[in-house]
């Protein structure tokens, strides 16, 4: 399986990832090799097999629900402490709406 650089740029766009020209070339190569290996899955007939999204165990239907009890949150000051740029009670990002 071969991936074109144009396809790589399209996927990088979906992933919100900026790649350099070098990275794009290398990515086409690496992903191509991995996708070729992955093609072996087509040897398996899985038409009548259910997909497994999660490891599940037997438990009552509501077993994973917790009591609806109030507990203190972090508070906005602590929650914003790691923001690269913050205002009072919010994360600051570059302007998205023009006045």
């Amino acid at each position: 399986m071969k991936l074109t650089e144009e396809q790589v740029r399209y996927v990088a766009d979906l992933a919100n990832l900026r790649l350099t020209e070098d990275e794009t070339r290398r990515m086409a190569n690496d992903l191509g090799a991995i996708l070729t290996h992955i093609e072996t899955l087509n040897e398996l007939d899985t038409a009548n097999v259910d997909p497994m999204a999660q490891v599940l165990y037997d438990a009552e239907e509501t077993a994973t629900l917790r009591e609806d009890v109030e507990r203190p949150g972090l508070g906005s000051e602590v929650a914003l402490a790691n923001a690269p740029l913050a205002g009072p009670g919010y994360f600051k990002v570059p302007r998205v709406i023009e006045r």
Binding site: A15, E43, T64
Partner: protein
């Protein structure tokens, strides 16, 4: 206490030593911190030490002992924590440049439980960026050097946690495993590493890589130490809805060395591509188990050869979603050259993530993109069912499965870094356990002629950690760790 004394200590010995007043928890913590600082220029196992937190926790233990209060099952035990697990107030980087300055506002549930049990967290360990890698070479802060052979990798992604225990700084440590990231470094460094049943330990506060596969688990120098640590961190947590609603047995209660009549399966498919030295050591380990009275037979796990493909679709798909949160708005780093919002996302992620993370985000985005979902992601989920079914069938016949951990012992730094496919293939024997969600572990089974440790893997059915530990402990008692 001398540094050499510390490096040989076990959890029960610490308990006895503290009770008898031979040393204090504070003295132990200070020795461990000094040991770590001394070794770190050689191995780079730690990204950060946490002396303030360690001394405060140790002081609480000493006060409890002085007051005649039970200080807990891990009282005074120096513990290292992988840097993908959040520690309140102690920098947590996930091995990524993107989080170089991130200080979490809360503790992971596992961390909280460790400290409640008297554990002393001495620092955060190096790892592959966001736990993605098999050699620890994907850390933004330099690779870890294997303490047993400094020119070799420690394995990954929990390389620092394995090395911290192997070099004697930490008595036990926490790692995380998504496709073998605990067992493989344990085997490379010659220590015990445990991946519990999926959901056995809360993932709250573990930075998400592939949520349906991620586990937190322990490293130790003995089976009993690792089992003790697991007993402390296991159990239902309302903050993780995937944590299992099942009681936690005392994992140390049945470590009596008696495994007579235990049925053990050797999966044919796991012994095909093994380097001869690793194969010989595991064969010798199996002979030991037979002498202990285990009933050993060949079994088949026919879907094994498709596991790598299945795993690298599912884990990258989940990773591409999980890592979307690193957007330049919330987690410390933002590209300085960004002028628009979309530019901020793209540039921050382009500058912040390393090569392997980018590769996995790209592969995951590709397999989930319009037109490919059925062919890749859904197909992989169906194959995952077949892999889980292989194990369910096997555990109808046997109590435990014994297999290699890695096709080869620790390789040289730089040896595989330019060939991602070769690196992925080295996970062949560990990923199936994660896909099925069963408990599995690595125990040392001797060294190659060059002195490189080899690990033997033990796998058991869901929630049968007790049987797995019993077999591993019997193997250790029989001298199996020495080969």
């Amino acid at each position: 206490m001398s540094l050499a004394d510390l490096a040989a200590l076990t959890v029960p010995e610490i308990r006895t030593g503290l009770k008898a007043g031979r040393f204090s928890a504070v003295e132990l913590a200070q020795t461990a911190l000094l040991h770590g600082e001394t070794e770190n220029p050689k191995t780079n196992a730690f990204l950060q030490f946490s002396p303030e937190r360690a001394i405060a926790a140790a002081r609480r233990v000493d006060e409890k002992i002085a007051g005649g209060v039970d200080p807990g099952p891990l009282a005074g035990v120096p513990i290292a924590v992988k840097d993908v697990i959040l520690t309140k107030g102690v920098r947590t980087t996930c091995g990524s440049k993107l989080l170089a300055n991130y200080v979490p506002p809360y503790d992971a549930t596992a961390v909280e439980r460790l400290e409640t049990a008297g554990g002393v967290i001495i620092g955060k360990t190096n790892c592959d960026e966001f736990a993605m890698g098999s050699s620890n070479e994907n850390s933004a802060f330099g690779p870890v050097h294997n303490p047993r052979a400094l020119d070799r990798v420690p394995g990954g992604s929990s390389g620092g946690s394995a090395a911290a225990v192997a070099q004697g700084t930490a008595v036990v440590s926490l790692g995380s495993d998504t496709g073998g990231s605990i067992r493989q470094p344990a085997s490379f460094c010659g220590v015990v590493g445990v991946t519990p049943t999926y959901g056995r330990v809360s993932r709250y506060g573990l930075t998400a890589f592939a949520s349906s596969l991620d586990h937190i688990g322990p490293f130790g120098r003995t089976v009993r130490d690792a089992a003790t640590l697991l007993g402390v961190i296991a159990g239902r947590d309302p903050l993780d809805s995937t944590s299992a609603v099942a009681p936690v047995p005392d994992y140390t209660a049945h470590l009596d060395g008696n495994v007579r009549g235990m049925k053990i399966g050797l999966p044919r498919e796991y012994f095909a591509e093994l380097s001869s030295e690793s194969g010989d050591l595991i064969a010798r380990g199996v002979e030991k188990l037979k002498r202990l009275g285990c009933d050993v037979s060949d079994i088949s796990l026919p879907t094994t050869k498709y596991a790598i493909s299945c795993y690298y679709i599912i884990c990258t798909a989940e990773a591409s979603s999980n890592l979307a949160r690193f957007d330049g708005a919330r987690y410390t780093m933002r590209s300085t050259s960004a002028e628009t919002l979309s530019d901020m996302y793209r540039r921050t992620r382009g500058e912040g993530f390393g090569a392997e993370c980018k590769r996995r985000i790209m592969l995951g985005t590709y397999v989930l993109s319009a037109g490919y979902y059925d062919a890749y992601y859904l197909k992989a989920q169906r194959v995952r069912t077949l892999i889980a079914r292989d194990y369910a069938n096997a555990f109808g016949e046997v109590d435990a499965i014994v297999a290699p951990v890695s096709p080869f012992p620790a390789f040289r730094l730089g040896e595989k870094i330019d060939d991602p496919m070769a690196m992925y293939l080295s996970d062949i024997y560990t990923i199936t356990g994660d896909l099925a969600g069963i408990p599995c572990m690595s125990v040392p089974c001797g060294n190659t002629a060059e002195g490189l440790p080899v690990g033997m893997q033990i796998l058991a059915n869901h929630f049968n950690e007790t049987g797995m530990f019993r077999l591993a402990d019997a193997f250790e008692r029989a001298g199996g760790f020495q080969g």
